[in-house]
Amino acid sequence: MKSLGLFLRNPTGLAGSSLLLLVIVAALLAPVLFPGDPLDMATTPFIWPLQDPAFPLGSDSLGRDVLAGIVHGARVSVLIGFASTFVGVVIGTLVGACAGYFGGRLDDLLVRLMEVFQTFPPFLLIIVLVSIAEPSVATITAAIGIVSWPTVARLVRAEFRSLRERDFVLAARGLGYGAARIVFLEILPNAAAPIIVTTSVMVATAILNESALSFLGLGDPNLVSWGSMIGAGRDQLRTAWYLVALPGAALVITVLSLNLFGDGLNDALNPRARGR
């Protein structure tokens, strides 16, 4: 609770969370604000922003509403960003906790596994995974999650390696607590702060990865995404640059808000950084 107060008094964190809230509200309200499929033709093509009050951000080469696309695109970004990060954090925490707490051969094995995953360029691995499976929200989420877990695993492993030597963990063993109880109830709450901070940056990375996939045309073809809008607008970059710039700006604002949010969380949750 003290951390929450600190977080709310932090201008960086406050700015980040306000922007993030805006994106999340837009994503949630998209079907209410813009009912119907944003991929359908709505008006004449190439209306510039601020030209027609009915389409404040204009329309694209197929006469689709750009504002509707951006608002609906937030749904995909937020959904895939949070879902894939959840997958990555759960896998990474489990693997990192086991490696860090038990150590020994299990640790060696799991560290090798992390290294195998980290030797692949992450985006290339996502492309390979998505190409093998049909591109859909579920497969893209899984692919991005699978690529992101080693980062969390390394962090959690390092935290557990130092925390497992602490006296309160020794006391827990002396009291006869089982390994599961020690890992999840004794150590994990003490490792939560850095995991939470990393999570916010991972969401930003996941959103960028999804956009990059969609830009390349490997996203879910039935959903509008900021990446696919940028990809579609690329051909008209000289004549209608706003088709690239507007979804790009949405992406920048979302990723920036997540990074600010992460910085604010770090300041609030990391007592050593307080007062700086």
Partner: protein, 311 residues
């Protein structure tokens, strides 16, 4: 049968023999103090007995059962009977748990069912060690050092153990608080019929609480004697040096001068041949450089490991 009988216990950290062939016994209701310099292995010995550190040889018989051989499920009932009070209460209490959780979790793990029953026991124990009942919803960092050590003691006693290893329980506390905690430990001992292995580097602290005193040097016990016998007739030169170093124990003519034990403790990775104390001993002779003196009974119940000790 003694409550605890340790025989030739050995603990290694890699090439380092932190505990090197220690034997000792604790009778039910007895307090054995283990004293020695920092790094002599006394803390490791306590943790090895409680199975917090793996041993590499010897036996630890608790109530006749060698707990050093037990694993997993068979060890759990013994965990309940042997507990530890740690040196630094701020490090040994989980900062993310309330005092209520810290004290009730052991009961839950050891099958005390029913929230109401657990709460009753937790409140009774908190009250017994002098914690405010309203403090159970608070976190350890909201308490003072002395109060935190009371929480640590309550946690150790909540399972009603028979043996409690107290690892320097007062050395992290202000001197004004030390006596309170020592008195609490003495009271609790008679209330709950406890046996203590009381680890300390301070003979002065130990004199208030110990029935027997074992002096440890470089991983070995060099003297083990009843409290009064050790104070009145210390037989090992190291023990004699320690007693001289206790304030107020100097020779009457020069009350404020302390004769230090010469030199530093040798590198435990490369202990000296023969008697391990000989490089610092005023009595050292040729035999001390060659032969390692075994622990032998010189007086009834008074064991010492020195070639020159005699009744």
């Amino acid at each position: 049968m003694p409550l605890l009988a340790v025989e030739s216990l050995e603990t290694r950290y890699g090439p380092l023999r932190a505990v090197d062939g220690v034997s000792l016994r604790i009778e039910a209701g007895e307090t054995l103090a283990l004293v020695g310099e920092s790094g002599c292995g006394k803390s490791t010995l306590g943790k090895t007995i409680l199975r917090l550190v793996p041993h590499s040889g010897g036996t630890v018989r608790f109530g006749g059962v060698d707990v050093a051989r037990l694993r997993g499920r068979t060890l759990k009932p013994f965990r309940r009977r042997m507990q530890m009070v740690f040196q630094d209460p701020s490090a040994s209490l989980n900062p993310r748990q309330t005092v209520g959780t810290i004290l009730s979790a052991p009961l839950r793990v050891h099958g005390v069912h029913g929230r109401i029953e657990r709460r009753r026991q937790v409140e009774a124990m908190a009250d017994r060690v002098g914690l405010p009942v309203g403090g159970l919803v608070r976190y350890p960092h909201e308490f003072s050092g002395g109060q935190r050590q009371r929480i640590g003691i309550a946690r150790a006693l909540i399972l009603r153990p028979e043996l409690v290893v107290c690892d320097e329980p007062v050395s992290a506390l202000d001197v004004s608080i030390q006596a309170q905690i020592l008195n609490l430990l003495v009271d609790l001992k008679s209330d709950y019929n406890l046996s203590y292995l009381f680890i300390s580097h301070d003979l002065g602290v130990v004199r208030y609480i110990a029935d027997r005193i074992a002096v440890m040097y470089l991983g070995r016990i060099v003297e083990n004697a009843p409290h009064h016998s050790l104070w009145s007739r210390p037989l090992h030169p190291y023990t004699q040096g320690l007693i001289r170093a206790v304030p107020g124990q100097g020779s009457p003519g020069r009350p404020n001068r302390v004769a230090p034990i010469a030199g530093d403790m040798p590198n435990p990775l490369d202990p000296p041949d023969g008697c391990r104390f000989h490089p610092r001993c005023a009595l050292a002779a040729d035999i001390c450089r060659v032969n390692d003196p075994p622990l032998r009974a010189v007086l009834p119940g008074h064991d010492v490991a020195c070639h020159f000790a005699s009744a």
